[in-house]
Amino acid sequence: MARVGVVGIGHSRFGIREDASLRELAFEAVRSCINDADVPLSDVQSMVVAIASDELSYALQPSAQVGDYIGFHPKPSFRAEAACASGSMAVRAGWMNIASGLADLVLVVGAEKMTEASTPDVTEVLGRAGDFLWEHPFGMTFPGYYAMIARAHMAKYGTTEEQLAAVAVKNHKYGALNPNAHMRKEITLEKAMSSFVVADPLKLFDCCLVSDGAAAILLASEAVAKKLRPDPVWLSGLGLGTGSLALAHREDLTSLEATVEAAGQAYRMAGIGPEDVDVAVVHDCFTIAEIVAYEDLGFCPRGEGGPLVEHGETCIGGRIPVNVDGGLKSKGHPVGATGVAMAVEIVKQLRGQAEEGRQVPQADVGLSHNVGGNGQHTAVHIFTRA
């Protein structure tokens, strides 16, 4: 199968970006990506844009805002979407664009402007990522769905609220070292445990931030990638799985079928297993989601996700470092940007360019895991140096 390499990465600062609109955020990421790749934008043949919400963007075809503002027209561009996993859909479509032979240099951009809307509005829009017809009418919010997953995990495996909080403490520790992170400050277990309840058992510090931001990567065919730089990182495994719309229909409420499916596809395609992964970014929209991801990705046996983080095994130096960029939890979660930002982080780690204190030593194989809604879509991507 065709090889596709990453030859450029760009990332805006995540946060409450009152200084920048959706298109201006995207420009910021594209400029840094083009600079990193050292390729003029005029050489790029095609683009895929991820933006999760029309409504938050006040626009149909929000990708046109990005294409217009970076001056990309009349070249091909379209939007890929799967809620919070939109960024990974764009990465996947970018890969297909090249592997199909349609283009050999493709820009992938993810962006979201979320903080203009009020918190109840954002809660409303994100809540619709679940089953808006049969579950949303019960006051179900986005945290509510994950709260139900957490409650089921606690009942089945004895997972504790302290273990959930340990995810937050770890991710804030690394986020504090990431200049692009939304909230660059460490938190204590006590602080996390005593924060107010959003949807029991999830507390404020179990929930990711609502952020503005953008990220971009430049993908190239094998021949072009090798010409452009000595160290392309290869996008070697792609997996995409889906799950039932209603949480009620999940056979096992403590696992995301979509992740298991996506991980299986990606490992097979890359010819590796979970034990080969040196560094991972997983979708910690809520702390419980990171624990479930450990298990679904095969980083530990079922039910042992809580102890894994509690014992520091997902810190640098542990068995498998996870979310050493701060994760969605502390780096922030501008939904459309997230999947692309995950690719940026893994490439950074594999190039050895992460900031001091959060670089995983000798990282040759990286994995990203990106979930849409409460498991309706999951993408798993594997990146390798060789």
């Binding site: 109840p120 017809l133 009418p137 919010t141 009942a155 058992p201």
Partner: protein, 148 residues
């Protein structure tokens, strides 16, 4: 655009009979005429045998709570100060618990938990799903404990 109420949402579709059932106090699943599969939430098309013919049957009896949460930060359509229009269920139920019960035949029903103090909720407890018409005239689904 505003969130619309539950009954309205299903009224425009082939499962509108569900809304009619709710209003009559009946919680209904749909059964595929082609292969006999029973669905809740109800469906009107079968992805197994591709039949589009379904009949209604009531969901009765008691189920077991398999998970739950207490929503403390409600979405906009349940936040009383932020919208004048209270859809489907009014906020009086928030922050009451929302639960998911599994019936004996395996069907699962999501609803508001009624008559159980938050600290007494536990996975495995018996609850009975029932439709309930609220004082604003709109119907919802409630999971009732014994004696509630």
């Amino acid at each position: 655009m505003q969130f619309r109420d539950f009954s309205l949402l299903v009224r425009d579709t082939k499962v509108r009979g569900f809304a009619e059932g709710l209003e009559r106090g009946e919680l209904r699943a749909s059964r595929c005429v082609g292969c006999g599969a029973v669905h809740f939430p109800p469906r009107s098309d079968c992805p197994t045998c591709w039949s589009g013919e379904f009949t209604w049957e009531p969901i009765t009896g008691t189920g077991r709570l398999i998970t739950y949460t207490l929503i403390k930060v409600p979405p906009r359509h349940f936040a009383p100060d932020l919208t004048q229009r209270a859809p489907f269920s009014t906020y009086v139920y928030a922050p009451t618990a929302v639960g998911l019960v599994e019936m004996e035949d395996g069907l699962r029903v999501m609803g508001w938990v009624c008559g159980v103090a938050a600290q007494n909720l536990h996975v495995g407890m018996a609850l009975t799903p029932k439709p309930e018409v609220l004082d604003d005239g709109r119907a919802t689904i409630v999971l009732k404990s014994e004696g509630c």
